[in-house]
Symmetry: C2
């Protein structure tokens, strides 16, 4: 029984988050909600994603409380549903910013990124940083991972 190798990984928060947002299209849908899309046809048009998957992913995001449905009404048409982000969805922003930032650094076109994130008002470039509760900037090497309250070992076998 090795402390690291025989621990139970089924309650890992990273794995659990990936169960929700780890399927193809899910994060890209959130990206578009971010950038202002809200209608089924918006997502379909900008993502080029198959309708059945789009419907399934939207349904799942709503069930999970990451998106919520509202209705909109175009003059001369009936009311239709639209999708808006919830606070629970907003809390995914740091993770998505982290992905964005890595791509900007290592996989951008020669000219640079396709999209820039700025602090509204101040205008300065925005990114995801690791900080401790006391406000210190933390280097990845200075993060210590220790067993938490739900830590447990994998049942032997």
């Amino acid at each position: 029984m090795d402390y690291r190798l025989d621990r139970d990984t089924s309650n890992c928060s990273i794995a659990r988050t990936l169960e929700v947002v780890g399927e193809k299209w899910t994060i890209l849908i959130l990206r578009e909600v971010w950038y202002g899309s809200s209608r089924f046809s918006d997502f379909e048009r900008v993502l080029g994603c198959p309708r059945n998957l789009l419907a399934a992913r939207l349904r799942m995001l709503v069930e999970e409380g990451i998106l919520a449905t509202e209705t909109y009404k175009e003059p001369g048409s009936r009311s239709r549903p639209k999708y808006v982000i919830t606070p629970k969805g907003v809390d995914l922003v740091p993770a998505v910013m982290g992905l964005l930032q890595w791509g900007d650094r290592y996989r951008a076109d020669p000219e640079g990124p396709a999209v820039l994130a700025r602090h509204r008002g101040c205008g300065a470039h925005v990114d995801a940083q690791i900080r401790c509760e006391r406000g210190h900037a933390v280097q990845a090497e200075d993060i210590e991972s220790v067993p938490g309250p739900a830590f447990r070992m994998r049942p032997a076998g």
Copy 2:
């Protein structure tokens, strides 16, 4: 031609990062590298991931420069390869911390998280935050996304 809906999304940095780390197991392998695993058998044991997929993901991570191979030698055995993280891999930490943090908040067991991240030395809890270059903490609502140097519209059609 709508500015948002008809832009070319193929050079999106989020999508490009997901091309590298978006497959199942990839981020979980990185998590284990983090927590101290380095050998093929370590990953197999802790993740329970099929060998062929594990071999494929490790090969890809090495090709991408996120992991590198070194050798280790157990007394009485021959040299064998092990996998260590590179600076390019370390730069994925903010994204993974973002996922961890969301899972801790919304999907943890009732007792709390399985693992806690602390600032070595100071001991305070660590998380991913959004900041601008001038050091201001930024709320998700105050992020403004603007077209960058590689922004382009999708070819009409």
